[in-house]
């Protein structure tokens, strides 16, 4: 059928033949020699690769551990204080002084003020509610949300009315913020931070 009569260039053929013979003559010896020659380089490359990997791993581990230390919750817990923002149950019921919302605030300066602010926000946001109708003697402004009058603690008409709050402590020492009444009337100890009501 089809064939190509054009033969291989004799000169090319002769050169290829001699190159192949040269390789056959050298046999595995030449290859081994080449491998031997390459080996030190290979070791150097592989060695530096291993060292680089080890360094990288060490840096990674170091960074990870420092991050862990930074974000370890245990030391944070030791620096925080738990307080209770109580609703009226603590006053009216008297027997259930733990009714309310527990909050956690970092220890430090102005602790009482920060706890009061947090509780105030809970009242403003409606998280804490009162069955007692609040009367504002100071401003007489009406709260649109509750139908109650604001005492002026609420800065926005959207916010709920906030009763007068007092900073006290429960029997176990837990700080508590109670509405309407002084600490003594709720059978509570005065705040340990301010030394009394």
């Amino acid at each position: 059928m089809m064939s190509n009569d054009e033969g291989l260039d004799p000169a090319f053929r002769a050169r290829l033949r001699s190159e192949l013979q040269r390789r056959a003559q050298a046999g595995d010896g030449e290859i081994r020699a080449r491998v031997r020659a390459r080996r030190p380089w290979r070791f150097a490359i592989v060695g530096s690769g291993v060292v680089a990997l080890a360094l990288g791993a060490a840096v990674f581990v170091g960074i990870s551990s420092s991050q862990k230390i930074k974000h370890d919750p245990r030391p944070m817990a030791a620096e925080q204080t738990v307080a209770l923002c109580a609703d009226e149950a603590i006053i009216v019921g008297g027997q259930e002084p733990h009714e309310g919302i527990e909050i956690t605030v970092p220890k430090g300066d102005r602790l009482e003020q920060r706890i009061l602010s947090a509780c105030t926000r809970l009242w403003q946001d409606g998280e804490l509610t009162s069955q007692i109708e609040l009367q504002s003697s100071a401003q007489g402004a009406e709260s649109s949300d509750e139908g109650a009058q604001s005492q002026g603690l609420s800065s926005s008409s959207r916010r709920k009315a906030v009763p007068p709050l007092t900073f006290c402590a429960l029997q176990g020492g837990t700080l508590v913020v109670v509405p309407y009444v002084p600490c003594a009337e709720g059978d509570l100890a005065p705040s340990p931070t301010d030394g009394g009501d």
């Binding site: 089809m2 260039d9 090319f12 033949r17 190159e19 056959a24 595995d28």
Partner: protein, 203 residues
Amino acid sequence: VTNDEHVVRAGVTDSDDALWVRALGGDEVAFARVFDRHVDRVHRHARRFVARESDAEDITAIVFLEAWRLRHRVRVVDGSIIAWLLVTAVNVARNMVRSRIRYESAIRGLRIDTVSDHADEVLKQLVLEGARAPLRAAFETLSRGDQEVLALCVLEELRPREVAVLMRVPAATIRTRLNRAKRRLRVALEKLGPGVAESWLEA
């Protein structure tokens, strides 16, 4: 030792099998004999898959360089290495660029920068091509796979079983591919003109 035994021994020691075993042992003469025996056929086979003569030369060189590099893995089928060489030529032609990279410096060394008369080469090519232009034209319209199986089984007359062993597929697969390729070649020839297919396929 009788004369008959001498003849038998000569035949055995001259087989590809025996030569290859000697070549593996570092006998460069044995390797050169295998080269001499098959180089023209490999080159002719390579020429079918590339347009330029220089590419066919490169394929031929790469096939034998690969044969030496992979000498412990070369498969001798039915006592001959030719099937392995031809199938390797197909693979090299298919992956010409990649194949060249490995032997770039060796191939460069085989070439001598001479200024050849391009006109002579073109004229020679036209004369050669003219005689079988229809068949070549039809062959070139076929897919690469069809060309390969036709070149191996029809032009080089390898048995489907030999090709199958080297391509690691069942012989039935090669036979099916071959039948399809033949059918497509006939169709391609018929498109060139009425009666072309008959005259060529009969020949």
